[in-house]
Amino acid sequence: MSTAPTTESKPAPPAIEKIKVKVDGREVEVPKLSPDHAGKLVPTTMIQACEAARTDVPHYCYHPKLPVAGNCRMCLVEFGTPALGPDRKPVMNPDGTPKIAKSPRPAIACATPISPGMEIYTKTPAVKQMREGVLESLLINHPLDCPICDQAGECKLQEYSVDYGQSASRFVEAKVHKPKAVDLGPRIMLDAERCILCTRCIRFTRDVAGDDALGIINRGSYNTISTYPGMPFDNNYTLNTVDICPVGALTSKDFRFQMRVWFLKETKSVCTSCATGCNILISSREEKIYRYTPRENDGVNGPWMCDAGRLNYKWIHRDDRLKDVLVRGQKSSWTVALNEIAETLKRVPPGSAAIIASARQTNEELWLLSKLKAKLGAISDSVPRTGKGDNLLVDEDKNPNTNGARLTGISFTEMGINLSKIAAGIARGEIKTLIVFGEDLLKRAVDAKALREKELTSEVVTEHGITAELLGKLDTLIVSDILPSATAKLAHYVLPGCAHAEKRGTFTNRDGRVQRFMQAIQPPGDARPEWDFLHDLVYNVTGKNGFLTIEGLFNEMAKDVPAFNGLTWAGLGDIGVTVKV
């Protein structure tokens, strides 16, 4: 992690005793205790020691964030421990090294704790043979139709077959047939024949998502993953099972058969569906987004994300995106519009302008708007956006950058408190100029109680009293947005902005973690990243410059905003830095 200031004031954890073990002859020192899936310190296992020694131990059922099951048997290794004499003292070799008593039986690396002096052997002929045996067993009843399997390219069976597979199967019996294309829930399909019964999905939904919805029915070779008949697998985290399924058994209805994974470009980004800011990868090809998947960040989301956030990308490719710069309803150009706006703003009397900037805008954009606010002596705020939260990842605050809006001075502790003042100011004719970024002020407020129980992306926008009639009283209404809106329709200037996938920037999540995201695709038409054109506008209005890149802009902002002092774009790294909020 970065060395930038972090105010995570956790007490230093007590020093954990280290012990020495050998992995394939290489000595490594590892902590005696390591965190288990839930973060509890438990004896370090062989597989963790092997990881420390950078030795890969193939596995299917083991997942560091799930309880250990030990059922796939792929991680079997051989091992030995220092031999003890009858006096319980170590027996020494003639050369003074401890004599190692090799265990006659192998052990699963995922569940076996290490002990001082233990030697782990992962490359012996016996280990290789065991892995080959497990792989062969997994493949005998598995369909060998990789060319038409959606998992191809990210399948652990394929991957390990390269190392431990046989070129021909000796299996000549009839395969066990199980249900295919099973509709497991609204977002998940199951191919039970491809399933290797590692139970990762069962453990995830039971132990992480807290929805004991999946199980194994039948017995022995006929074991099959299943929901209870008539009870769809539909919690808000089901798609994580697709990520952790090591084979092509569980697939996402949204993504399956849309694109071969090896054609996809992965871009590091952050989910914008709520204040949690789950780290994600955007998979895209030729300016089209195909899926979001969680990107592991133990400070935020671990390896998981919610289904609602994961599927919240389709709007980016909507045909009716705002693609043109409009001046009084007519298509125009950035130069014309920004010059006109700058000239107008320069003449605005202090106190007669207001800025409503969405907490879905980035830190950099909000900061630039705060510069404009200072110059204009404007009143500002953001629009609160709340919905259902849960105890795992989903926050009630559906704005991804509430803390950014606060830290840059656009909104205040109680977000939305100024909206009615702005409405009143317009009504009284005191506020003549309104700058709106990323909000449709005329969107009707929704009653929280009216939200449907199972709806994943429901949210509430607070009633604030700004009506079309009020907006009609303004001299100048400047609106930047991504999608068409009733507010934009009334605007004198419409500036087409970008989805987060189309630009770079940072958000500050609910815990004050400043996280950056990268650009995955190009914006449509004339749309430009807001920070990019805001920079031009602020320069035109205030005469200040110095940041032509997002890096420069961020670093400038970090110097200016007290909470961000000391941060640098580079220092944020991939997992972000937490600041005091």
Binding site: D212, A213, I217, R219, T227, Y228, M231
Partner: protein
């Protein structure tokens, strides 16, 4: 069809649950009690059990599909279970199974439990019944029969009214 557990049975079940510090442990005993009463474990019975024990239905469904003694559909009034495993096979259990099937108009080569059209008899092979010294052995419902010859089989079946 509504599913209702008589008060007396529910009282028995409630007593069974007290045998365990954790309710879930009573799963098998509750299912046995329901099956004894209803003859099989319907989906409604699975759901009733789950609710009774504070479980998800899948938790119970996992058990019902694992343990072959639980019936997922109605079976005959007389359930003939013929032991299939080695000692009984050495003692002629395959011929005995075929004899039952032939006599009752069932297919001796079919896997799993088969029930006569009139619903009176079910016949199935089961694994070792732990009475290998008196092979071949069968069970009819809860009753156990050892050293079952053809003649004895005839006699047993004729007594099933």
């Amino acid at each position: 069809m509504s599913f209702s557990v008589p008060a007396k049975l529910e009282t028995e079940i409630d007593e069974l649950i007290t045998h365990y510090p954790v309710k879930r442990s009573a799963s098998l005993m509750v299912l046995h009690a329901l099956q004894e009463h209803f003859g099989w474990i319907s989906q409604a019975a699975v759901e009733w059990t789950a609710k009774k024990l504070g479980l998800q239905p899948i938790n119970v469904y996992e058990l019902v599909t694992f343990y072959p003694m639980f019936r997922q559909q109605p079976v005959g009034k007389y359930q003939i279970k013929v032991c299939r495993t080695l000692s009984c096979a050495l003692g002629g259990s395959y011929a005995l199974h075929k004899h039952f099937c032939d006599k009752l108009g069932l297919d001796a080569h079919k896997h799993g439990v088969q029930t006569t059209k009139d619903g009176r008899f079910s016949v199935e092979f089961v694994e070792c019944l732990a009475s290998c010294g008196t092979a071949p052995v069968i069970m009819i419902n809860e009753d156990f029969y050892e050293g079952v010859s053809r003649a004895k089989a005839e006699e047993i079946v004729s007594q099933c009214k």
